[in-house]
Symmetry: C2
Subunit: 210 residues, 2 copies
């Protein structure tokens, strides 16, 4: 999936982090601003509502030519024809998700240490998320890993690494200095007053053109 | 699925209702007592732990020649090669689960009214659960439907109907009088001091041999 090589800005949306706006509108605005991949993460919704949001997002992302990744639920990913699934350490094993979604599917894995990152690579992930780089309310159960740990992961993992966790325009320059090329954000885009402008700023910074 | 025509005793297991025993042991004992189908229902477990329990149950049920149904998660059902999935009203649509699991899969649906039962039939369910017949702690969010409602469903639905909700040896004779041939139980078997004996008693009563 050569798409992942070019990836810079990964935006995660979910009904808990839209500042009251519909998830689909937030995703549309994020794409308008430059989000290159959209992940739908719903931790509290029943499957039916999660599926319905995923189906609506599938239409919007397909029109825009932007890949759609579903968090955790490979069945919902399969049901809506998403491009892949993102798995946490407590989610399905990669091989199980791969069996359901097929060889072409993009499978990403959340990792929180070098060991987890190397294991995900070995088990066949297409990319890894690494973090939280900074403290974040979205994943309060994990301690912030910091920039040194990110650098260590980058030096040991061949897969595309997506830095995640508390990244904002204010700390992004320090993140970029580690050599990482890709970031994922939830709040910094999806909860921002101007979603498109926030995505656009982050993308410009990642592309070195700001 | 002619198997469903002969079904009498459907046992649901899950880590929240084992009286502290391992889920797999409880299922084994239930099968030894006569459970003819096992459903794994895990509402709180992360997907990985749910998957691991499902995989262990798949071994045990396959050895016994007893079908295994997974609650809600079609991806976990597919990943472990379960026989089917059981869907609540807030779970994936039947068609979406069918697409993932294939035509041969057994798909059951929880219903709580004649209207829901008829809709599930129309949408392609293989069987319906109907209840709760009596008040139950397992599904506190639904009001008990009672025996008259069960009778009404039986008269209007052609699919196999499985009565569920608060059924015990004490009230089973009244349940059987409605004409229903199949019951599903959680606590009455999985939380019983003697799981196998409890299953055996219910099965005997359902077969009219007690
Ligand atoms: Ni997670």
């Amino acid at each position: 999936t050569s798409f992942l090589r070019k990836l810079r800005l990964y935006v995660i949306v979910g009904s808990a982090h839209t500042a009251g706006r519909p998830v689909v509108s937030v995703a549309q605005e994020a794409i308008r601003g430059g989000a290159q991949i959209i992940q739908l993460r719903e931790k509290e919704l029943p499957a039916k509502a999660f599926f319905e949001t995923a189906r609506a997002l599938r239409e919007v992302t397909a029109k825009a030519g932007v890949p759609l990744i579903i968090n955790d639920r490979a069945d919902i990913a399969a049901a809506v024809g998403a491009d892949g699934v993102h798995l946490g350490q407590e989610d399905l094993p990669i091989a199980a998700a791969r069996r359901i979604l097929g060889e072409q599917a993009i499978i990403g894995v959340s990792t929180h240490s070098v060991a987890e990152a190397l294991r995900a690579e070995k088990e066949g992930a297409d990319y890894i998320g690494f973090g939280p780089v900074f403290p974040t309310r979205t994943k309060p159960e994990y301690a912030a890993q910091g920039l040194e740990a990110l650098q260590k992961v980058l030096s040991q993992v061949r897969l595309p690494v997506v830095a995640i966790g508390g990244i904002t325009p204010a700390n992004l320059p320090a993140v970029i200095k580690t050599g990482v090329k890709r970031i994922a954000v939830v709040s910094a885009v999806a909860s921002a007053p101007d979603v498109a402008a926030s995505a656009a700023l982050l993308l410009k910074m990642l592309e070195g053109s700001y």
